[in-house]
C-alpha cells in the first residue's frame, strides 16, 4: 500500500505551517480534526472553504464530515471577524443580572444583530454561553479580555472608543 502523502500547503502563508504542525503532532490522525480546526481558527480568525478543504484532505476526512463538524460547534466561525470583537456573556448568572439589556443596547448602537460584524468590518458583536466568570456577572469580553460587572454605559463607551479609532 502506498504511504499517504499529505497535500501541499495552500500557500506560503506561514500560518499554514502552524496548522500543519498540529496535524503532524497528532500523526495526521482523523481524530485530530477538531484540534486542527481550532488551530486554523486561532491562526486565521475564521475558517474558509480553502482551509476546510485543506484540513479534510490532509486528515483524510470526508469533506462532508469536516463541514459538519465546523457547523456543529459554535466556536467555529465561517466568517472573518471584525477588527474588534465585543462578546457579551449570556449565561444564566449574567442573564439574571440583565445581560439582555446589554445585548439590546449594543445591537442598537452597532446596527447589527448579535453574531454579526458591522458593515465597515470594524466591530463584531458576539454572544457567549457562559465564560465561567459568573461571580463577576454581567461580563463581556472586549477583544478576548474579560471585564466584569459591566454596565451599559461602560460597554457603549468601549464601542465608541473602537469606532473612532
Amino acid at each position: 500500500m502506498q504511504a499517504f502523502a499529505p497535500p501541499p500547503l495552500p500557500s506560503d502563508d506561514k500560518r499554514w505551517k502552524i496548522v500543519n504542525g498540529t496535524m503532524r503532532k497528532n500523526g495526521f490522525a482523523r481524530h485530530a480534526l477538531i484540534e486542527t480546526l481550532h488551530t486554523v481558527q486561532s491562526s486565521f480568525g475564521y475558517l474558509d472553504d480553502d482551509s476546510i478543504r485543506f484540513v479534510a484532505k490532509s486528515l483524510r476526512v470526508p469533506l462532508s464530515q469536516a463541514y459538519g463538524v465546523v457547523t456543529f460547534y459554535h466556536h467555529f466561525s465561517l466568517k472573518p471577524p471584525g477588527k474588534h470583537t465585543m462578546t457579551i456573556c449570556t449565561g444564566t448568572a449574567c442573564y439574571i443580572k440583565g445581560t439582555d439589556k446589554l445585548v439590546a443596547a449594543a445591537e442598537k448602537r452597532l446596527g447589527v444583530p448579535q453574531g454579526q460584524t458591522t458593515k465597515d468590518g470594524n466591530i463584531s458583536l458576539m454572544t457567549a454561553r457562559c465564560v465561567g466568570a459568573c461571580g463577576r456577572a454581567p461580563v463581556v469580553l472586549t477583544d478576548g479580555e474579560l471585564q466584569g460587572q459591566m454596565t451599559g454605559d461602560a460597554m457603549l463607551a468601549q464601542l465608541e472608543r473602537w469606532a473612532v479609532e
Binding site: E35, Q65, Y73, H74, C130, V131
Partner: protein
C-alpha cells in the same frame, strides 16, 4: 520517584517557605485576573522587596469569594484583604508584621467558617503552576500509596466505601462505575475527565482546573491504575483559556517529575494524558457525545447501552468522570473511604462545590458538606439577597435543573432530596433570583438555551424544545392562552419521556418546576396580561403571523 523522594521535595519546599516571615497569596483566578490581580502581584513583589521584609508573594488559584476580588491573603496571620488595587500594594507591604490595613480587610467569618474544603483544600493556597507546591501539601502521596501498597481492587474498594457519587450531575456511584470498567475485557482502556462545563452559571470545574490542576491529574492516574487504563484525556471547554494553559503546564511538570509517562515510580504502571478542547457545544457534556467529540466528530449522543464503560472511546472500555469527581479521589485514598463517608448525608457523601451566583451578596465558589440546608448556603454563606430585595427562587442544576421557592429553602442539599422536589444537583450551579426576576421569562431563557444547544439528532428534543420556546414566548408577550399552558405541560411530558439523551430528558425541568411553584406568574401573564416582576414587555403588537410549526 519514591515516597521518600516525594517527601524530600515536600521538605525542601517547606524549608524554602520557612525562610520567610510572611506569605502573601494573591488570587489569580479568572475572576480576580479580570481585575488586574497580575499587576497587583507585580507591584507587591516590588514593594515587598523595597521594604526589605522577609515576605514571599505567591500566585494562587481561586479563593472563592469572587465578589470581593482581587483578594489577597496574608499568612500566617490569615488576614484576608478584598478589592485590593495595585496602588494598595505599598500599604499591604508596610502592614506586614504590624497592624493590618483596616480599610481593605475582609471579615467574612460566616462565609468561610461554615465551609468544609476537600476539593478546594489547596485552592488559593498553592501556586497552580508549580508541581512542588502541590507535593508540599501531600500531593501525589495517594498515587504512590496506591501504586506501591494497594491492588487495583483495593483502590476500587476504598472508592466504593467512600460512597462518592459522580459530581457531574447524575450522581452515579463512582466505585460502581470504576468496577464496571475494571471488569470490562480489553487490553486498551481509557480514562476521560469531563471538563466540558457547559452549564451556564457554573464554574466549579474551571476553578478547580485553574487552582489545583495536579489534583485532577492525580485522581485520573489513580483511576487509570484501578481500571487498568494507560491513556487519559481531559476534555476542557475552549472558553476557559486560563484553565487550558494551567492544565497543559501541569501535564508538562508532572511528566518532568516522572509522575506521568512510562513506568511511573518504578512500577510497571504507565499513564499519559492529553488535553482535548471543546468547541462550544453544551451537549458534549453528555458522555457519549463527549466521546464522539474526542474522536473528532460532531458531538451527538448515542443510545446507551452499550455504556462507555463497556464500549466508549474508539470502542474501548472508557471511564468518564467529572473534574470534581477526580478531584475527590486523592483525599479519599490518602485518608480512607471511611473518613470521606463520615462527611455528608445518608446517601450523598462528602462535600459539594457550588458556584453561588445571581442576586446574592457573596458571589463565588463555596464548598459545603452534603446535607446542609439551602438556607444556610444562601442566607449564611452567601450573605443573602442584596439591595433590599426579597428572595424569590434559587435555580440549581442549570438548564436541566429547577427553580425552588423560599418554602423549599430548608431542604438539605443532596442528590435525592433535590430530585424529589423537581430540581437537580447538576454540576453545582446555584443561581439566586430576587423579586426582579420573572419566572416565566427564566423558563423561556432555559428553553431557548436547550433549543439552541439541542444537537438535532432526535426529534422530541429538536422540535419539542422549539415548540416549547414558541409557547413560552407567546406567554411572555402576553398572547398566551390557558390552552397554551396545557399544551406546554403535555409537550414537557413528551420531551421528557422520549428524548435520547440527558439534554432532552431534562430540558423541560425548568418549565415544570416553575409551573409547580410559580404557576401564579404564568396565570398573571396569561389572564391578567401583566408581568409581576416587570420583566416581560407586554406592549409588543401581535406578530403578523406566529412562527410556523418547526418541522422535524
Amino acid at each position: 520517584m519514591t515516597i521518600e523522594e516525594l517527601e524530600q521535595i515536600a521538605a525542601s519546599v517547606r524549608a524554602e517557605n520557612a525562610k520567610f516571615d510572611h506569605e502573601i497569596n494573591v488570587c489569580m483566578g479568572t475572576g480576580c485576573l479580570s481585575q488586574h490581580s497580575d499587576k497587583l502581584k507585580d507591584e507587591l513583589v516590588k514593594t515587598v522587596e523595597a521594604s526589605g521584609k522577609k515576605a514571599f508573594v505567591r500566585r494562587t488559584g481561586c479563593m472563592g469569594l469572587c465578589a470581593a476580588g482581587p483578594l489577597v491573603l496574608v499568612d500566617p496571620e490569615e488576614i484576608l484583604y478584598q478589592h485590593v488595587k495595585a496602588s494598595d500594594a505599598e500599604a499591604v507591604a508596610a502592614s506586614l508584621g504590624g497592624e493590618p490595613v483596616a480599610a481593605l480587610q475582609c471579615d467574612l467569618r460566616e462565609h468561610f467558617d461554615q465551609q468544609v474544603h476537600v476539593v478546594l483544600e489547596n485552592s488559593g493556597k498553592i501556586d497552580p503552576e508549580k508541581i512542588d507546591d502541590y507535593i508540599a501539601r501531600d500531593g501525589y502521596q495517594a498515587l504512590l500509596t496506591a501504586l506501591t501498597d494497594m491492588t487495583p481492587a483495593g483502590v476500587i474498594h476504598q472508592i466504593t466505601a467512600s460512597g462518592l457519587r459522580g459530581r457531574g450531575g447524575g450522581g452515579y456511584p463512582t466505585g460502581l462505575k470504576w468496577g464496571t470498567v475494571a471488569k470490562a475485557t480489553g487490553d486498551i482502556k481509557y480514562v476521560v475527565c469531563n471538563g466540558d462545563e457547559g452549564d451556564p452559571g457554573a464554574f466549579m470545574d474551571r476553578s478547580v482546573l485553574e487552582s489545583d490542576p495536579q489534583r485532577v491529574l492525580e485522581g485520573m492516574a489513580i483511576a487509570a491504575y484501578a481500571v487498568g487504563a494507560s491513556k487519559g484525556y481531559v476534555y476542557v471547554r475552549a472558553e476557559y483559556p486560563l484553565a487550558v494553559a494551567r492544565l497543559t503546564n501541569c501535564l508538562r511538570e508532572a511528566r518532568r517529575r516522572g509522575l506521568l509517562g512510562n513506568d511511573i515510580c518504578g512500577t510497571p504502571f504507565s499513564f499519559d494524558v492529553e488535553v482535548r478542547l471543546g468547541a462550544g457545544a453544551f451537549v458534549c457534556g453528555e458522555e457519549t457525545a463527549l466521546i464522539a467529540s474526542i474522536e473528532g466528530k460532531r458531538g451527538t449522543p448515542k443510545p446507551r447501552p452499550p455504556y462507555p464503560a463497556v464500549s466508549g472511546l474508539w470502542g474501548k472500555p472508557t471511564l468518564i468522570n467529572n473534574v470534581e469527581t477526580f478531584a475527590n479521589i486523592a483525599p479519599i485514598i490518602r485518608k480512607g473511604g471511611k473518613w470521606f463517608a463520615s462527611i455528608g448525608s445518608e446517601r450523598s457523601k462528602g462535600t459539594k462545590v457550588f458556584a453561588l451566583t445571581g442576586k446574592i451578596t457573596n458571589t463565588g465558589l463555596v464548598e459545603v458538606p452534603m446535607g446542609i440546608s439551602l438556607r444556610k448556603i444562601i442566607e449564611g454563606i452567601g450573605g443573602g439577597v442584596p439591595d433590599g430585595h426579597t428572595f424569590k427562587a434559587v435555580q440549581t442544576g442549570g438548564p436541566s435543573g429547577g427553580c425552588l421557592p423560599a418554602e423549599m429553602l430548608d431542604i438539605g442539599v443532596s442528590y435525592d432530596a433535590l430530585l424529589k422536589v423537581g430540581a437537580m444537583m447538576g454540576s453545582g450551579g446555584m443561581i439566586v433570583m430576587d423579586d426582579t426576576s420573572c419566572m416565566v421569562n427564566v423558563a423561556r431563557f432555559f428553553i431557548e438555551f436547550c433549543m439552541t444547544e439541542s444537537c438535532g439528532k432526535c426529534i422530541p428534543c429538536r422540535a419539542g424544545t422549539a415548540q416549547m420556546h414558541t409557547l413560552l414566548t407567546r406567554i411572555c408577550e402576553g398572547h398566551g392562552t390557558m390552552d397554551d399552558l396545557d399544551l406546554l405541560v403535555e409537550l414537557c411530558a413528551t420531551v421528557k419521556e422520549t428524548s435520547l439523551c440527558g439534554l432532552g430528558q431534562t430540558a423541560p425541568n425548568p418549565v415544570l418546576s416553575t409551573l409547580k411553584y410559580f404557576k401564579h406568574e404564568y396565570i398573571d401573564h396569561i389572564v391578567h396580561k401583566r408581568c409581576p416582576a416587570g420583566v416581560c414587555n407586554m406592549e409588543t403588537p401581535v406578530a403578523a403571523e406566529f412562527p410556523g410549526e418547526v418541522l422535524a
